[in-house]
Symmetry: C2
Subunit: 331 residues, 2 copies
Amino acid sequence: MDKILLAHGDGGLLTHQLIEDIFIQEFGSDILGEMGDAADIECGKRIAFATDSFVVNPIFFPGGDIGKLACAGTINDLSVYGSRPCFLSVSFILEEGMPIEDLRKVVRSLGETARSAGVKIAAGDTKVVEKGKGDKIYINTTGVGEMLKNFSQANKIKAGDAIIVSGNIGDHGAAIISRRAGIDFKSTIKSDCTPLNHIIVPLWETFDGIKLMRDPTRGGVATTLKEIALKASKDFLIHEELLPFDPQVKSAAEVLGLDPLYLANEGKFIAVVDRKIAEEVVDFIRRFPEGKNAAVIGEVLEGRGDVKLKTLLGGTKSLDMLAGEQLPRIC
Amino acid sequence: MDKILLAHGDGGLLTHQLIEDIFIQEFGSDILGEMGDAADIECGKRIAFATDSFVVNPIFFPGGDIGKLACAGTINDLSVYGSRPCFLSVSFILEEGMPIEDLRKVVRSLGETARSAGVKIAAGDTKVVEKGKGDKIYINTTGVGEMLKNFSQANKIKAGDAIIVSGNIGDHGAAIISRRAGIDFKSTIKSDCTPLNHIIVPLWETFDGIKLMRDPTRGGVATTLKEIALKASKDFLIHEELLPFDPQVKSAAEVLGLDPLYLANEGKFIAVVDRKIAEEVVDFIRRFPEGKNAAVIGEVLEGRGDVKLKTLLGGTKSLDMLAGEQLPRIC
């Protein structure tokens, strides 16, 4: 059997075989191995809880695949929120006819990413839908983390705080577009998709002056900044000259008429921190390969939620949330 | 705007509007209202964790809809496992073009079910896929519960224990088939889809002699019994004459050539209990309207995982797991 059948989803024999042959083998979690309808896990009394469904198209792309993305996405949500990610659940919606080899690759990638991040897969589920009612594979991951002493609090953000981004902007979005369009930019644009808990958790533990972190996924850096500014009721001033970009991503975006500030990132975070520790935080992030282009990109001003971009030409323009569809199924 | 657009899923303005106009309004949870990427929840140190994706077709059926089902399903998984359900995450995959009114109905039903069960919706996510890459709506719910002192332990099951089912068998499966086939059985067959934590949690707290509970969803009572028997390494003897059925469900199944023991249930549980408390447990369950047909249906024998059905005619046949597709997308 080399393709997913509807019967793989009926809860009977084939479902059991799929779980044993692929999920248990690739995830190898003791807890998942019990195959119960729930898992018994231990965690702190105050827990963080985050969920995300992943429908990215294509499912394999330069720098990752839907499995790695689904794992990294929820780990990063938990981390920026201010928790140490502990457990993930993973739930698959498979389309009838999906090659089982592709499923195995995705599951393996998800399992490897979880192991490398020190996060256990504790619960799972699989459903199968008819051909034409899905698109190969959709994955939901839901995560539980242990809340840290420091965590994201928008009300701590004050005028004068510094705004940091942990690296080049727009890589994931650009990788997906180029792969999807079959465009060869004669480039090596890769998704930045990766778990960042090994950087973010130590940041929370090392610096008391971090006010808030967020991962700028769907909607990109611009939408995320606008969301934070509104929540904090402060204005943000961003300096275009300080924004770190891979030049290839910038040209690809230009060719396609897209603004890289609205392209999704899947291995980056934004941090709003006390001005006094900003350089130290940037140095800390730069020690990691995933953070080598970290930079202060702007500052917090009194205000009511406007995000202003000071352009290279010296003008100022407002950044708003993404409106209308830029790129469906980017994550 | 009366239909879901791709842009509802891009993380920008329309996504925000959808969250505010529909999800926050219908779910009304303080926690979800913060709209962060994660939620900060409090729970016991030992928690139960369960995930399930729901792809049922049709999304509205006699006795419920995909929203109620998605809520009840995970609440019941947490409950039979031996925990008090506390929090749910809810993640939607919407198909472009889905009528927003249908979405609102589903979300309302999910929210009402959660409120009536005393469970908070703490985290959410929405993705939109192109027309023809989904089927109106798929929902993942993932739940966190507080582990109880007593909980499901297959190794406690001993020869002589009694096997109880909490009510009529096969109602959900029969309701879906009849609705799907457009068949009017001149009947009032309804899905049993409902949360049962108000029965199951007090059962765990009242009786020390409950060894294990399970909800017989996909694959039905037969598959679930086989799974329990294998896990406990015991044989089960089930008496056909003791099985509670709605006669309409039985005839509908006969007409369609389906065995109701393999039809899904979404508001029932199986309990394996010490023989000495079996009648007391049945009486307890019968006090609730959802449990009025509860019955002892069989007993545990020494063995290695066989499930035998003693038929009305006096013969014995083996019950195995569901093999091949009986009914795709039943939940």
